[in-house]
């Protein structure tokens, strides 16, 4: 009974948040600001799922988040084409302290190490964030084909682990290890590629 009460209150809060966000969207006429507000609107939808409070919820938040990010990337690309935005002079975070100091390196190393310790999806997310921050602050420009390849191989490892779980359940421990390593590499690499490869002309 108390659980239902908590769930209902949580649902109410999320719905109020969604309504506020929709209200803001209805009052906004600029395309770019509408697009930014949609970022806010995505969050209540993940909140509703997270309110389930089980491990199922975690498994559902991730695809929900992925679909939301995919839609936003697609829309932002359409916006750039629509507005004729081609040149992007900003190649890194334009903050003097960040660009020169050692702070980005230290923070990135901390995040990557912490992410590897966490392992799994969450760890991959944290470690990837560290790499994104590093690339963004240093203006990293290099051939990222190796990272792409690592992403592909770790994904294959992850899938192999899944098949191991399905068809050879006796070898669950090796499958678990493969899945953990595969997914942490995969998410780390994937996240670090977002934003660095974005918008490059890859001929």
């Amino acid at each position: 009974m108390t659980m239902w009460g908590q769930y209902s209150y949580g649902l109410l809060v999320v719905m109020v948040a969604a309504i506020i966000a929709f209200f803001a969207l209805a009052r906004e006429y600029d395309d770019f600001h509408k697009f930014l507000l949609l970022d806010l609107i995505e969050i209540p939808s993940l909140g509703v799922i997270a309110l389930l409070g089980t491990d199922l919820a975690e498994a559902l938040v991730l695809p929900g988040l992925t679909v939301g990010i995919a839609e936003q990337l697609a829309l932002s690309q359409i916006y750039c084409v629509k507005q004729g935005i081609k040149e992007r002079p900003v190649s890194r975070l334009n903050i003097e302290v960040v660009a020169i100091g050692d702070a980005p390196l230290i923070i990135s190393i901390f995040l990557v190490v912490y992410g590897i310790l966490l392992s799994g999806f969450t760890g991959g997310g944290v470690a990837g964030l560290g790499l994104v921050y590093f690339f963004a602050s240093r203006g990293y420009k290099e051939n990222l084909n190796m990272l792409e390849m690592a992403s592909g191989i770790s994904w294959a490892l992850w899938i192999f682990a899944f098949f191991c779980f399905m068809f050879l359940p006796d070898y669950w421990f090796i499958a678990l290890m493969c899945a953990a390593v595969g997914i942490v590499l995969k998410v780390t690499v994937k996240m670090s590629l977002v934003g660095t490869m974005w918008g490059e002309n890859r001929e």
């Binding site: 559902l60 929900g64 939301g68 697609a74 829309l75 359409i78 084409v81």
Partner: protein
Amino acid sequence: MSDPIGGVPYYILEFGDELVYFTPYTITLFLLALTFTVLVIISRPERQMDIAFGGDAYGTKEISLTELQFRRFMAIACGLASMGAMVTGDIFNFTLFTAMVGITNVGIVAAVKSHHVQDAAFQYGLVALCATVPLFGGAAVYAASTGSLSMIELMKGTLPAVPLIAKALLVIGVVGEGMAPFYAAKAEMFRAPGAPYVIMCSLSSLLIFLRVVEVVMLG
């Protein structure tokens, strides 16, 4: 199973947490999606004709090969997502496939070099993004109230009844993703040239709407 809506399932595949089943209803929709995807793969796109009223002048629009390749890819992706949405037996997977159909519908016309079409695609994309709130919200309330996302379990009638609000949220979400019969908002997008690919937009919308009707009648 007491009186399933789409008929008695012929075949149920449970693979981990993936659940796929075929009833007479869903297999019809699946075959329709499959046929159109194959048509998109093998057909040659048409060129849009411009005819000037009051004269004999007419001409065809030039479309670059890369643009057509991108749109064919998006149309095939849209067909695959529609097929997935037709046969999936999991409410959340259904909402994910619906969201994917929404994205690919935008993608099919996004490569078109026409300002009107791009503007319409962007506005429609905004609506589709908004619609993920009721879409995922509906699926989450399904799970919260019945404890299951499996359509097979819902079909059995042993679970608690699904609240009306969950069904309403699901339908609003699907409609917001631009599904029939409310895709009038997408009309401007259909000005894009290239016949078989643009038709994939409306066909997938129609199929998704037919499926959501079945889904909301299950629980």
